[in-house]
């Protein structure tokens, strides 16, 4: 029986190996930071040169601003973000019991606005939402990414992984074809990197602005000429979940700078 089980497992592994490439071994994982030129690394390292800090500062003032019909600010419930928000970004996306599905940090901020501040949601990718997200995520800087291990969440992580492995679009590429198989190569002069989202929201020099992880994902999906997904769609949140599980144990760098 045990022998049969072993053979069966080997067969499953072989089938999986044939269908999709292997994930990057834990000890070979590298943050996107390590692919950058030293000049760009210097920008991220110096808080007075890192343009992402402008959004963090904006987020800090938004944190204290009262909003919505309830007339409450974030700090009225959560008080000092330095302590209350420490480690939060390291475990998001997280499972929301009421909705019965995973939500990312941006969605949590908007849920908080709806449920507790009775305020209208802030538009995805707007300056205010990026600022609040960056401010909250920055409180976890240096902490190891520790994905939420809730059992209800695991099917969604698996769906995110399927998305990552699936070939799609006119170019018929899966995320894994670049980010697992060819991360050590270049694409049009740019490093491919390993799809480990350690610094989001990031200040991307190409954007000349801050951007969320979903903005980056949508860029990639456009790149493979596949049908894109809306900001906040379940597919993108599941992909975020899987990417964070890939990056488990790596330190948060928010606000990251990328070329």
């Amino acid at each position: 029986m045990k022998l049969f089980g072993t053979i069966f497992l080997a067969a499953v592994l072989m089938a999986a190996g044939f269908a999709a490439a292997a994930e990057i071994p834990r000890n070979e994982r590298r943050s996107g930071y390590t692919f950058m030129a030293p000049d760009t690394q210097t920008i991220q390292d110096d808080d007075t040169a890192n343009p992402g800090m402008l959004w963090v500062l904006d987020g800090e003032s938004l944190w204290k601003r009262k909003a919505g019909a309830a007339g409450k600010s974030c700090s009225d419930c959560h008080s000092d973000a330095n302590t209350s928000m420490k480690g939060v970004a390291a475990r998001y996306p997280a499972f929301d019991k009421t909705l019965g599905r995973p939500i990312n940090l941006e969605q949590r901020i908007n849920l908080c606005r709806a449920r507790h501040q009775e305020a209208s949601p802030i538009a995805y990718e707007s300056r205010d939402l990026l600022a609040l997200t960056a401010f909250v995520a920055q409180q976890s800087r240096g902490m190891a990414i520790t994905p939420d291990t809730t059992a209800e969440l695991q099917p969604f992580v698996a769906k995110g992984r399927d998305f990552f492995m699936k070939r799609q679009g006119q170019l018929n590429l899966g995320c894994t074809n670049c980010h697992d198989d060819n991360w050590d190569k270049h694409l049009a002069g740019s490093a491919v990197t390993q799809a480990l989202p350690t610094g989001y929201p990031i200040y991307r020099l190409e954007w000349q602005s801050m951007g969320s992880l979903q903005r980056r994902l949508r860029n990639c999906i456009t790149g493979i000429r596949a049908q894109n997904y809306d900001y906040g769609s379940p597919e993108l949140v599941e992909l975020e979940l899987y990417l964070m599980s890939r990056a488990a144990g790596m330190p948060i760098e928010t606000p990251g700078v990328r070329p």
Binding site: D47, T48, A49, P51, M53, L54, L57, D58, S61, Q208
Partner: protein
């Protein structure tokens, strides 16, 4: 919500060469881009940056459309006396921002 990030050493010895770093939040829209409908996006840039050290102008820069968003300007000066650096950014559409930093010189 414009904001500035300033990095000036808090202390310096008299005669030291010190580096001053400034970062200003601004979109720096060039005026050369078009919308999908073909309309020109109007220019909106910072045009001038000045730094005064105890009232005396020590650095000035004119900025143009080719400069990236959130301009990061750094320069060096000699620490002569304790006092205050005043920074001012002026730009299109009445943009005007000020910031300051103090230094103690021994």
């Amino acid at each position: 919500m414009a904001s500035a990030l300033i990095n000036v050493p808090k202390k310096a010895k008299r005669g030291d060469v010190i580096e001053i770093k400034t970062l200003m939040s601004h979109i720096m829209e060039t005026g050369y881009r078009h919308t999908a409908a073909g309309q020109v996006v109007p220019r909106d840039i910072i045009t001038s940056f000045t730094c005064r050290y105890n009232g005396e102008e020590i650095f000035r820069a004119d900025l143009f459309p080719a400069i990236a968003a959130n301009p990061f300007i750094t320069f060096f000066t000699i620490a002569t006396e304790s006092g205050k650096f005043d920074f001012e950014w002026i730009g299109d559409n009445g943009f005007s921002e000020k910031a300051s930093a103090t230094i103690s010189v021994e």
